[in-house]
Symmetry: C2
Subunit: 409 residues, 2 copies
Amino acid sequence: MELFNVLTVQQARATLQQHLSLQPQTETVPLLQGLNRLLAQDIVALEDVPGFDRSTMDGYAVRARDTFGATEALPAYIDVAGEVMMGEAAKGTLLAGQAWAIPTGGMLPPGADAVVMVEYTEELDSQTIGVTRPVAPGENLVRRGEDVAQGKVVLTAGHRLRPQDLGILAAVGVTEVPVLKPLRVGIISTGNELTAPDQPTEPGKVRDINSYTLYGQVLEAGGQPVLYGIIEDQFASLQQAVAGALAENDMVLISGGSSVGARDVSAKVIETLGNPGVLFHGMAIKPGKPTIGAVVAGKPVLGLPGHPVSAMVVFDLLARPIIAAAGLQKAETAFPLRAALTRNIHSATGRDDYLRVSLRRLTDGSIVADPVLGKSGLISTMVKAAGVAHIPLNKEGVEAGELVDVWLF
Amino acid sequence: MELFNVLTVQQARATLQQHLSLQPQTETVPLLQGLNRLLAQDIVALEDVPGFDRSTMDGYAVRARDTFGATEALPAYIDVAGEVMMGEAAKGTLLAGQAWAIPTGGMLPPGADAVVMVEYTEELDSQTIGVTRPVAPGENLVRRGEDVAQGKVVLTAGHRLRPQDLGILAAVGVTEVPVLKPLRVGIISTGNELTAPDQPTEPGKVRDINSYTLYGQVLEAGGQPVLYGIIEDQFASLQQAVAGALAENDMVLISGGSSVGARDVSAKVIETLGNPGVLFHGMAIKPGKPTIGAVVAGKPVLGLPGHPVSAMVVFDLLARPIIAAAGLQKAETAFPLRAALTRNIHSATGRDDYLRVSLRRLTDGSIVADPVLGKSGLISTMVKAAGVAHIPLNKEGVEAGELVDVWLF
């Protein structure tokens, strides 16, 4: 085996980013299909939202100064001169000394600058109200353009569309959105011990887990997974499979080959495919040490460990950020949950540790993380866990009660 | 307007649950399509995983007792009597005094009870190794059934399938999964001031936002949204639309009608549709007070506030849990992020407050929440926010630096 650098997680990410040159492609989709997609360009509002001053209360549009000094004992008497109908422009202009009835959401008549809540009025006769509390100009209304001002960038390129983002796009009249196409991610499982889930198991064989976990992880990250099945640990077959997957996808994940010999085959295959090829062979991380990181012709090719837990952890650290950004060079803005570990955990310095944890809420509202112990070959430990806690590489361990970052599944 | 109880959020949830009788339907889908779906029944493992004792290291299978007392100075000499091939059963039985070469993931030969890592052996000749460190029985291997034992429930009914859950199902040979059908959720926007996003806005009109935010929220909760568009605030049209949506869906969301008159129409319409009808009219919450909660023939019908922020918050509190459980009576197990608010926030007791916040990470690793202030009619405030902070109903407010629960979008 050739000697390659063993990198820290941060170095591994930076090294991959440095050599990537993915070309995100754009497509336009109807607004409703934009959920969870990444915007391909900035969206600028072509109109003010709302397009007019708008009441936020049921009551009366007035000139604020006509209410100044009003009290319950000495109400301001104002003529009811009109009514604003919901969804229509006022039929006229509000003059000094006038009040127009207005519903929540109604358009202020020209001349009005505030709304008196109906609770602070008394109806004297069908033509006159008494206002029992003064309002200031601008009170109880939303100003034209207060939600979104014309010309403003409402959402920026690379932003992942959430439900409220669909809402603001609807508000500014954008019904088709330019979005980035999801990265296509080829998934190859390798290992002579693997058998497909729909096959009976024979002695020495285990079913392929990583194709399924990685398929789910790619989808959740916003990518488009493409399965290539189980390929035997043999140079020619693996080379053919990886070359094919690389031609058809933006990224290739090869999992398995956990024995030294099998790992060698993966690395040798990747080296034959193009430049720069293998960038690191091993990461200072637990679990996930036997990871191969490569870039071929601008596309990432990752050799993930065969152990299901390790493969999932390394996917999250190296592949997910690239897929989630659809290949754009973009920093992540995710926030972990902070929880107190419930027992001492040892960790070697110089290595990032990712510890499976389940979570509990205590009565004081705080959240604690119980380590889920078990070998990284056991998928059942990931099923029991709610997330992984990160013990950074400069720490020798965590004492019970210390807060750690927990990344939820 | 009739007088209805104003309920707390907790009371409102309990009241709805008490009257719901949704009948979740089941379908069977291929494993890969099971991601994010809810299991319809418990899944029991029909086999042990792994099906045999399995090495976790490259090295030699041995009888542990043959290595007892071995040191670097005085290695235990053991005959290399065979080799285990990856994915195959050993061709024979390991006898006392023998070692068989074995790769990571290989099946232990009968007779062996431990694996010596290759790092702790020295090759004396092609037939003999010296073991320089003893191993205990069971060391460096995964026992048959250690990941999943035959007969064990691997996942329970109602569980939402994550990537690792697809993995464990693959491991036990389950390639088709019984899942609950998503709840169909009819979405109606009402308000004479509303216009569709693809239409030009006229004075007094604003574009329909809630259809789009709710569509996204229903999808994210795991439901199937069905849009009925904009219906005018008029008894006959609204009655026809809601009755139609109720017949075709498991849940109906009516948003808008923020003025008192429009709210009355919604409540009256719901009352005509069946029993028990309107259960509460108003919640002790900010934003989201003017919420109508109803159940008709076992199906929830919610009158959400017209303000986009309020509608989103109330959806999350009342509708999402029902949709996320596909109508099963099931407690939530979600965990909020805990963050320190950066400024004093006043809140009335007797009311749950949901405060839009953005988040920042400080250099000590802690996370702080900055309130995003603004009226609940402004969708732009939700776009700026990363989540909502909850100020519980028994609190008068939160002081700067106090930890609050933040629910991320």
